[in-house]
């Protein structure tokens, strides 16, 4: 196929020659309306487009990696419009830092489980504003009072009059949109909270027609594959392409301008891969990471002896020491976590195409506001000369949101050295992905928990050593304060439990290995440590793990109260009893509370997870089935990691290469999952990530309940367990 969607094309109505209603924000951020004819000449960017045939198109400012955001944002608009769900479609927004900003970030981007949360009022108001225009247009057309008009399933009605949205578009475009339209109260919701809405992407993703970035084919396009340093931080000294020249379809090879690798161009993906593999490169490793995994972990652990930072101002690892010295009993524990690859199934790729005015990037683009200036800087363009065409992304789990826009930048460098004449598609192989860095960082935790004679926690010294994700990134100003990267210990700090004398020490690990947020960021390791420790306290003090947690959550505080609801719900659906040989864990992340009970069977060293019970409190449930899907998927994503996934290094080189030695969770290994959602009318909170953190410790706590073995070094396969 040939993709050629210009800005003008995006704004033009989908029904040629007819008027379409557009509702969105103008440059001042005020809801406004206009026709497509006006939009082509004035500076209007819509969230809602309604065609003459009554089809509603919701413009999605986020990207879709499977998390269900397109369905969610469409639901918000359709709810306020009372649209017919079958006549609602979606389209991805172009890059626009302001109009399509994530309201929590200030720039355009998807992450931190914020898509629904930040858009909740914005998309509802856009739908409500469109509704108001249509109602007034119908009132004018029929000569009736607007208050007499009702809308159901995309049909406006008043007395004997009725008509679909499209019939009133022409008049609606002549009206002025109200600035603050009335929105529904939760008791009026018909679509929000409905279990009957199907995903908007479930037809095109089941018949092969959904277009992902890797599916882009442009006339004259060439393909690029890059050989990168086998040790992170190495640079190219020289290369020899004599063998690559023997590869059919090979075009040329060139060093990237930053010397991080050599790019091979081919006439198709296969020839680019083959030619790349045939290159012989001499590397300079003088600045590269050359340690092996054991040394890296030992270096993490030595950092725990003297934390660089204390997160608490009042209580520090120094001031808590005498409290712990005076404790009747203490629990000591040390945890280790490996590097993890995100491994989205669509490996990283993107295409850069020359345009009259600059370039167009075709990408499952997660952070247009980071990608655009990066490409502009590399190519010597203004950001406005970089157009971004967002396409479906075949997973991300954090990987496509790179502060350095790394793979986009690589493609821009390849495009630059190619001569900028033809479109260049950069494709990463799976080996590139597994060996390519940007991992969930390795981490080490050490904790000492002090108990009094009654078994109450009286002090807690918790230390974390991990490479900072945020330092040096554009997010540093938001997430790093007084040197402390708050994502490094989030989940230990900012937890919901009332823990007296909790000291949190943090040290930044340093390595050339590039690291990145991985579905749930710091919570990937902090939840495992915290919830294992809570289980250890319960065991040591003879308390029921659920009762003990409830006793440490303040019902008068908003978020702990939400967690109490989630815990009680999971206790109910799982039929948890005191002395249960199952595992429990709960965790608060991305403003959402998730509680999990893991039901497992252990035979010798083989563990089978039979069933996971999950309860989630995420505010109002926009699409309950999408929430369930995210809990199922989040749990499965966690299981893959805790069972057996790890990226290890030998002399700085990654040992794993592809799925045979970085094996994803398989169908036969997936437990049954039962998800219950705590009813709520509060503003919605995230669901893409919060299912991940509590799953691992729930399984670990179940393994302890059945075997007496406490797993503190991940992955669990290290403890001699296998999973089936």
């Amino acid at each position: 196929m040939t993709i050629n969607v210009s800005r003008r094309g995006f704004l033009a109505g989908s029904v040629a020659g007819t008027t379409a209603l557009l509702v969105g924000v103008n440059a001042k951020g005020v809801l406004t309306a206009g026709s497509t004819a006006a939009a082509a000449t004035t500076d209007l960017n819509p969230f809602v487009k309604i065609d003459g045939n009554g089809t509603v198109t919701v413009i999605i400012k986020h990207f879709e990696m499977g998390q269900g955001t397109t369905t969610g944002l469409a639901t918000l608009v359709a709810e306020e419009l009372d649209a017919n769900w079958d006549k609602v479609q979606t389209d991805f927004a172009p890059a626009d830092d302001k109009r399509y900003a994530n309201l929590f970030f200030g720039g355009q981007g998807t992450g931190g489980s914020t898509s629904i949360a930040n858009s909740y009022m914005q998309y509802r108001e856009a739908g409500a504003a469109a509704r108001d225009l249509l109602v007034r247009a119908a009132a004018q057309s029929w000569g009736v009072d607007a208050s007499s008009i009702s809308i159901e399933d995309g049909m406006l009605k008043s007395g004997g009059n009725s008509g679909h949205f499209g019939e009133f578009v022409a008049i609606a475009t002549t009206l002025e949109a109200v600035e603050k339209p009335a929105i529904k109260t939760p008791d009026q919701f018909k679509l929000i909270g409905s279990d009957k809405l199907h995903r908007k992407d479930n037809t095109s993703k089941t018949n092969g027609t959904a277009i992902f970035a890797m599916d882009v084919n442009l006339p004259g396009m060439i393909y690029a594959a890059i050989i990168r340093s086998p040790k992170f931080g190495g640079t190219v000294v020289s290369f020899d392409d004599a063998d690559a020249k023997e590869v059919g379809g090979f075009i040329a090879a060139q060093v990237l301008p930053n010397k991080a690798g050599v790019v091979a161009f081919g006439k198709n993906t296969w020839s680019a891969f083959q030619a790349r593999d045939a290159l012989s490169v001499e590397w300079d490793f003088s600045a590269a990471e050359t340690r092996s995994t054991d040394a890296l972990m030992a270096d993490h652990k030595s950092l725990l002896d003297a934390p660089q930072y204390n997160l608490g101002k009042e209580i520090t690892v120094q001031t808590v020491a005498p409290v712990l010295d005076g404790a009747a009993d203490t629990i000591d524990a040390e945890f280790s976590f490996p590097f993890l690859a995100h491994a989205p199934l669509e490996s990283l790729n993107c295409t850069i195409e020359p345009t009259e005015n600059g370039v167009r990037l075709h990408d499952g683009c997660q952070f247009p506001s980071l990608t655009r200036p990066t490409l502009a800087a590399i190519l010597g363009l203004e950001p406005s000369q970089v157009e971004i065409k967002t396409l479906y992304a075949g997973g991300s789990f954090g990987r496509r949101a790179s502060p350095t826009a790394d793979y986009n930048a690589e493609a821009a460098m390849a495009f630059a050295v190619s001569g900028r004449k033809v479109p260049v598609k950069l494709v990463w192989s799976r080996e590139d992905d597994i060996k390519g860095g940007y991992y969930r960082p390795m981490a080490a935790h050490r904790a000492k928990v002090g108990l009094d004679a009654d078994g109450k926690v009286i002090g807690w010294d918790h230390r974390v050593a991990v490479k900072s994700i945020m330092k040096g990134s554009p997010m540093e100003p938001m997430t790093v304060h007084d040197g402390i990267d708050h994502t490094s210990a989030e989940g230990v700090a900012g937890g919901l439990y009332s823990i007296p004398n909790q000291a949190i020490g943090l040290s930044d690990f340093q390595t050339e290995v590039p690291i990145l947020w991985w579905r749930s960021v710091g919570h990937t390791h902090t939840a495992f440590a915290m919830e294992s420790l809570m289980d250890m306290v319960a065991t040591q003090t003879g308390q029921d793990p659920i009762d003990m947690r409830l006793s440490m959550l303040d019902p008068a505080a908003p978020n702990p109260a939400r967690m109490i609801e989630a815990i009680k719900l999971v206790r109910e659906i799982s039929g948890w009893k005191k002395g249960d040989k199952r595992g429990f864990a709960c965790h608060y992340s991305f403003n959402t509370c998730v509680a999990v009970v893991a039901d497992i069977t252990v035979e010798d060293s083989s563990v089978h997870v039979n069933k996971l019970f999950m309860a989630v409190e995420c505010g109002v449930a926009i699409n309950p089935d999408v929430i369930r899907a995210q809990m199922e998927g989040g749990a499965g994503y966690a299981l893959s990691a805790i069972y057996r996934n790890e990226i290890t290094l030998t002399d700085g080189e990654v040992d794993q290469y592809n799925f045979p030695d970085y094996e994803l969770l398989r169908n036969s290994e997936m437990p049954e999952v039962e998800v219950a959602i705590v009813p709520s009318n509060n503003a919605p909170t995230g669901v893409g990530e919060p299912g991940v953190p509590p799953t691992g410790p729930a399984v670990a706590n179940a393994i302890f309940a059945q075997t007496g073995k406490r797993i503190m070094d991940l992955p669990m396969s290290k403890a001699g367990f296998d999973f089936m």
Binding site: R430, N658, L665
Partner: protein, 153 residues
């Protein structure tokens, strides 16, 4: 080299180097992009197509070996079983990112063609070669059961 392939009932002529995986011929030369690249080593199943009716990993099938076979991709999966599987996938809202789903569906069609009433264990065994990073397995298995019921009815 020129090869004559029969894809989705149509005869197609492609120019490709010997040894090129069928996957890349489908995607880059014929623009049949419903078939996906996941690993390149026949370990994830994203590239599954039918060769003479059997689910086959197109990333490990050389173009020359595909000559004189009947190849069906997701774009050409339109028979009764395929329709039942796709309808069940939509009914159960199986998909998340969607990248693996063409392969999952081609395998599921293969399963139900061979075995119209699979047990839960049959499904897990047959589908174990198709990895889903979003972990939609619970729904994949429910959808296969549903499609089986629809076909039986």
């Amino acid at each position: 080299m020129q090869y004559q392939l029969k894809i989705n009932g149509e005869s197609r002529t492609v120019d490709a180097e010997p040894g090129t995986p069928l996957l890349w011929v489908l995607r880059d030369e014929l623009h049949l992009t419903g078939t996906k690249f996941g690993c390149g080593v026949a370990y994830c199943g994203a590239c599954t197509v039918h060769v003479d009716g059997y689910p086959t990993r197109s990333c490990q099938t050389f173009v020359e070996d595909a000559v004189e076979t009947e190849i069906t991709t997701i774009e050409g999966a339109t028979d009764k079983v395929a329709q039942a599987v796709q309808a069940a996938w939509r009914e159960k809202d199986v998909v998340q990112c969607g990248w693996c789903q063409s392969g999952q569906i081609m395998s599921a069609i293969g399963l139900l063609t061979e075995n119209p009433s699979p047990t839960d264990q049959d499904i897990k065994d047959y589908m174990d070669g198709n990895a889903c990073r979003c972990v939609t397995y619970v729904r994949i298995n429910e959808a296969i059961k549903l499609a089986s019921e629809k076909l039986e009815a």
